[in-house]
Subunit: 570 residues, 2 copies
């Protein structure tokens, strides 16, 4: 792409022309609705999949993910990836020729930001004649670009996948970047950025890469992969040459990197990352995401310490606060930040389902099977008698069955929370937005009265601090539906009284020593607690076990479980 007009940058600098290197896979369909745009990470390039030429020794950097029949199926989707502004793999950057001088830009290249880079992405997509992208997917720094596109050009994207990314670098990440740049700047061959192609600041750039590489792996990952193994011998060599396998590996990574990457680009790109700070620009993350229109799927990795899960959670919280359609999963992995490049089989199905659900209208015909979860007769009651319409939050949503019903039948806007990543995957498949979180630790970010209904179904007895949780629930929900097994059912009472043993019943089916339940309480106990914390009980249904009819006579004695509609006393 050549851009004729002068391109003004946030830093005040200008570029007279911008060329973009890109690759595409698959075919754009007639209405242009199947375009998936991939934003690469710091040291990536446009070659995201397949082999560009017969000389290629290995395929594109995300080849496991993208291709015919793969998770991002190029037989269905038109996949585009471009090298970003300032890169050194074809798109205009510090190693390009400055039209004013006929020499390489070097440090004369103007500083640019993630916003500038996203603008180039957007202008490039315009040039391709694509009005709306079905999905923009970005990992790490690519996620910053994806966010920025969704924020700056809300009409341009229908959905966004953010993987292992952040809305801002923390002090530690800035520090690592600074040390890497220092190593480049200190290299005697750096020569103020004017170095010949074959004699650049290789040792400095190699050191920067080594530091980066450590931050991309996790401590556990490095331990598993290298441990304290020595490369050649059982004994120490007593010198300063690389001898531990991890040293040799990093040394090799550093050497390979300088063959393909430009030191000036490294300086500019890491600075753009350092500067990225949505909160600084918009005042808050919540404001930053206020006008996005895309659906979001956010993924983090448990062992990622460069852009840790907490950073993804902040993004999710901001989207949730804005009542945007967002799903989130925190994937358990020991591969650290690099997990998204390594564990494509874990992330692949999520992305496949998410993109598919974006491109299809999901209806109840396939989203769930009626009564598929056995023993969940409470769902019928909740759906038919308690939650009529409005915004619904389901705490401990499981596979999203109740929410799919409420969405499809009652036309509710729904959101689920669950701590189980597989459940999140099942929800994505149903097109039900679901966020990975501990329900006892994640309600703070919701506003007072944000939901019409909050549902907590058969979960209160497994929580650590039920009193605090109930108070939060009636804060964020105008009404709440709580269901739980009744510990004072006659069979419980009789078992303890007559046999002197901890009761087990159909509603409390576990042995005392392996029960997930940690609190045992009756309807009376629950009602007393509600009174003590100013919770009003609006309605109470005690279903018969058979699922038909209601226990009206002595419900605390004859009810196995109870369903309550509650709200905060005003």
């Amino acid at each position: 792409m050549e851009e004729e007009e002068i391109f003004e940058l946030e830093s005040g600098g200008v570029l007279k022309e911008v060329e973009v290197a890109y690759e595409t896979y698959g075919e754009l369909n007639e209405d242009g609705s199947n375009a998936v745009y991939i934003c690469h990470a710091l040291t990536g390039d446009a070659h995201v999949a397949g082999y560009s030429s017969s000389e290629d020794s290995k395929p594109g950097w995300w080849d496991d993910m993208i291709g015919p029949g793969k998770y991002i199926d190029t037989e269905k989707y038109f996949v585009i990836c471009s090298n970003f502004l300032g890169g050194c793999s074809g798109t205009t950057g510090p190693s390009s020729i400055n039209p004013d001088t006929g020499l390489k830009y070097g440090l004369d290249f103007p500083l640019f930001t993630i916003k500038d880079m996203a603008r180039v992405h957007k202008m490039f997509v315009d040039k391709l004649g694509i009005e709306t992208l079905l999905c923009v997917i970005g990992g790490s720094m690519g996620g910053m670009h994806a966010m920025r596109i969704a924020i700056d050009y809300p009409e341009k994207v229908k959905s966004v996948v953010l993987i292992a990314t952040t809305s801002h670098l923390g002090a530690q990440a800035i520090a690592f970047d600074a040390v890497g740049r220092n190593a480049i700047l200190a290299d005697r061959q750096f020569n103020s950025g004017h170095y010949p192609e074959d004699k650049g600041p290789d040792r400095g750039l190699g050191i920067a890469r080594m530091i980066g590489h450590i931050t991309y792996l996790s401590e556990e990952g490095m331990r598993r992969k290298f441990g304290r193994a020595l490369r050649n011998s059982d004994d120490y060599s007593y010198d300063f040459d690389p001898e531990f396998s991890v040293e040799t590996y990093l040394d090799h990574q550093g050497r390979r990197f300088v063959e393909r990457f430009d030191a000036n680009s490294y300086l500019y790109i890491t600075r753009a990352m350092d500067y990225f700070d949505l909160e600084k620009e918009f005042g808050s993350l919540e404001k930053a995401f206020a006008s996005v229109k895309a659906r979001f799927f956010v993924v983090s990795y448990s062992s990622d310490w460069l852009f840790p899960p907490a950073h993804s959670q902040e993004i999710v919280d901001a989207l949730v606060s804005n009542a945007k359609d967002v799903s989130y999963s925190n994937i358990n992995s020991h591969h650290g930040h690099d997990a998204f490049l390594i564990e494509t089989d874990v992330i692949g199905p999520y992305i496949e389902n998410f993109v598919w659900a974006t491109s299809h209208k999901i209806t109840d015909s396939f989203a769930y099977t009626r009564n598929s979860e056995p023993g969940r007769s409470d769902y019928e009651i909740i759906q038919n008698q308690f939650v009529v319409s409005g915004d619904v939050l389901d705490l401990g949503c499981g596979e999203g069955e109740l929410l799919a019903r409420l969405r499809d039948v009652n036309k509710c806007d729904v959101l689920g929370i669950d701590i189980d990543t597989e459940s999140i995957g099942s929800c994505l498949k149903k097109g039900v937005p679901a966020v990975w979180a501990d329900i006892e630790d994640s309600l703070e970010s919701f506003a007072d009265g944000q939901f019409d209904y909050v549902v907590l179904s058969k979960t209160l007895q497994t929580t650590k601090r039920p009193k605090e949780l109930l108070k939060e629930i009636v804060r964020i929900g105008r009404k709440a539906v709580i269901t739980f097994p009744n510990f004072a059912h006659i069979s419980c009472r009789a078992q303890l009284f007559f046999t002197g043993r901890a009761p087990t019943t159909s509603s409390l089916p576990y042995s005392w020593y392996d029960s997930p339940n940690v609190h045992f309480f009756s309807m009376k106990d629950f009602e007393k607690l509600c009174r003590s914390v100013n919770i009003r009980i609006e309605q109470r249904i005690v279903p018969r076990t058979a699922g038909t009819g209601i226990v009206n006579f002595l419900p605390n004695l004859f009810g196995r479980e109870a369903i309550y509609l509650i709200s905060r006393e005003s």
Copy 2:
């Protein structure tokens, strides 16, 4: 100290003389029993406390800890600190003059190991005429020296304090060291180690220091201290100069460091750390600590990711496996590896008590007050009827009262485990060895039948997996004492049966929603579980509430709590 003989090193190299720079504080007492030896960390020196001269701008590096009336009280103890072998603050190292050439050693200095360094410490203490050190205290690399002294010279030390240290560097720590050395070796002023004092590889050494510094702090610590603050302005400067506060700080640290440290020393010392690996040398950590005679106190910090708590736990496990006297605390801190230099008020009281208990024979007159814990009538029964003598492990030992009694009255060898760091502190004060750990997650390292008795007192009902825990307990203990509240006591039964409410009693005093108890069971339940996992019940006592007499009639109905002696079916 000058050492006349040739000093042979593990690497095969030799030194013709070794000079040691040191400082002392306080007075050695007549029988030479009050000497406390401090081993400093990588970049420390002998100047551990006070002001050496009127020109000193700040006191020694651990001045908050050491001095008259301080935690290590120089009015009681004779405190010694020496610069270690290979350092650059007075003791022989690469920047010393090579007697063979009359020039600085530089890279002609032989490689040395932690073992060599510990040998110099020991020879130096011999020279001082001190036969036995009351305590050796070392943080970080200093901890490696302290361990090595205790292992190689078991008679030389009565007690050891290991702080934020490790028995081996992990792959990540080796990697950081390697990158730091790379930066020094790549510096054009390094000149193969032959550089003038005022023109060394400053940028390389500065980069190494910056990397090191990042690893000494925690992500949270850096976030709190620096966040994304800019040094001078609200706006970005759009250049590559340090502008974030964290950049400026690291830059400053790097610059200051090169003024006081020698680059060659940095290479040698970090290599010695890399090479330190007790497991490699002895076959296992357990074997490494087999013949130590000292008492140990091990401390780690929750946010230390350089030498993380798991590394300290391995050391503790190895000591425990050898039935050594060991205490351990993992201190909650956001200061990372550097916490031991910063939070002296946290670690100080522990060390004060530990050193004091080492120098005194603790007797029951002050170790505990009889019946000081109200309602613990079970202690009397355990002490008088169940645990006669032998090795005792108390799971959830609290402040160590039961163990102090068993040690002082029944002459048992005792060890406690507790998850509360304050409890560990209280145990240290009583001279009761206690290890910070989750009892459900820490029994693996004990051998079959390692203890004569394992005690689990009023804790089973709070554990997550009581069945698995019981099985582990009877594996590691020849006998075990288990006490718990009886959920089938008549008042529980009656409350649930007649009032339909979760019971609260004197033994189960909590409301259902804020109880720490997560499993509720009766004596019958417990006995059935024991049968199902082949646990033999050897004795059972159901005390009357008043603390006198025993419930013989229908104990599962009239007993509020039960005390069992159990063992594994053979």
